[in-house]
């Protein structure tokens, strides 16, 4: 059961991520071809990033109350809606209408991404069991393969746009996710991750010092990447070093793929340490991964 749940969650997250990366490239290239400026295109993705903050807070709470099966299916379902809605866009629309429409659809896709991500990552805790380092290995493989696939998705999006066109590419991806949706709905454990007691809404803010410090560290860790990665580097490579768009896109995609491979291999590279509980024999009956799994 555990193995099947892990396989289903991983497969669902993989298919989702391929379409997530492909969609980013598809929208970027399509609207670039239609003559939109870099700033207008950046606007298209603004809400996608913004909704992540709220979606994770609320989604984590809903997941604990209703089960991760529900939040995962909601994520996959919303992505189908976002993809189909985007295919309604017509190149003849006025610019402000187009930007607003695509921003809205991208927001839906952003909610879908974070519901899927939060559900998949949380599910690993329930399927990993207690073995020494098993939790680290499983989440590292899930996270690393996800990022590598996102980079692959960038290339896939570019290839789909030139072979099937904008609408064809969107509908093909919607169909792919629909198949995944049916498989998850039919086979995934129904109450995976559901809390015995329904937690109240105020519990969305953590009271654990460890979780709060780790969350603060995560905030600065990801800010440190995006401060140079999102705008500064691509613009610098273009403006100062004179790279082509294809060259910049390929470098960023390769960076994401390489980064995913290192993430997946991280458990092998991490030294034994008491704080992380890796490679240290547990004592006093405390499980290697900090507690039992309930699935």
């Amino acid at each position: 059961m555990r193995r099947r749940n892990y396989a289903l969650v991983t497969a669902g997250y993989w298919v989702f991520t391929l379409t997530d990366g492909a969609l980013r490239m598809l929208v970027l290239l399509h609207f670039h071809q239609l003559g939109y400026s870099a700033v207008s295109i950046a606007f298209l993705f603004l809400l996608y990033e913004f909704v992540g903050i709220v979606t994770n807070l609320i989604g984590g709470w809903v997941g604990a109350r209703s089960g991760l099966n529900r939040t995962l299916l909601a994520g996959l379902g919303l992505q189908i809606v976002a993809l189909v809605v985007l295919s309604f866009h017509d190149a003849s629309w006025r610019k402000w209408l187009s930007v607003g429409f695509v921003m809205g659809a991208q927001a839906l896709s952003g909610v879908a991404k974070d519901l899927t991500k939060m559900s998949s990552k949380s599910a690993v805790k329930f399927v990993a069991g207690d073995g020494d380092g098993a939790l680290f290995r499983m989440v590292a493989v899930l996270t690393g393969s996800k990022n590598a696939l996102k980079g692959v998705g960038f290339f896939l999006g570019a290839a789909l746009l030139s072979s099937l066109g904008y609408d064809g590419a969107l509908l093909l991806m919607a169909a792919l996710i629909a198949v995944t949706f049916v498989a998850v709905a039919a086979l995934l454990d129904d109450d995976l991750g559901r809390s015995k007691k329904k937690p109240p809404l105020r519990s969305i803010l953590s009271t654990s010092t460890a979780v709060n410090r780790l969350a603060a560290a995560r905030l600065f860790l990801f800010a440190s990447r995006d401060i140079w990665f999102v705008v500064a580097l691509p613009v610098y490579l273009d403006d100062v070093l004179g790279w082509s768009y294809e060259g910049i896109g390929a470098f960023l995609a390769a960076w994401v793929i390489g980064y995913g491979i290192v993430q997946a291999a991280a458990p092998q590279a991490s030294p034994a340490d008491e704080r992380t509980n890796l490679g240290v024999r547990s004592c006093g009956g405390v499980g290697g991964d900090g507690g039992g799994s309930r699935s």
Partner: protein, 108 residues
Amino acid sequence: MAVAVALDLAVTVGVVGGLIVFGVVFALNSSLHSYLILAYANDRDVSLDVGFYYSANAVGRLVGTLLSGALYLWGGLEAALWGSALSVVIAWLLTLRLPAVALVAQQG
């Protein structure tokens, strides 16, 4: 001319090489953190802690994205890289005070 081209090449190698090194260290850290949040998370309602954590992740990405544009406009790639370095130091200082997984589990 030759000097300028050589300098350009040196800058390219420096920037690309430096960012690849950053990528490796960043990937190891983010992978370890992704594990730690699950190890720290309360067994009964894991997704509450995980959702809170990835919400902080999303704040970091949004702030990073906005700063990326602002710092580049203000002082070019150099300013953005200094901002990134400062942010790494803050993240590192915060991780120094993380408790052991086994202790968190006992309190859980």
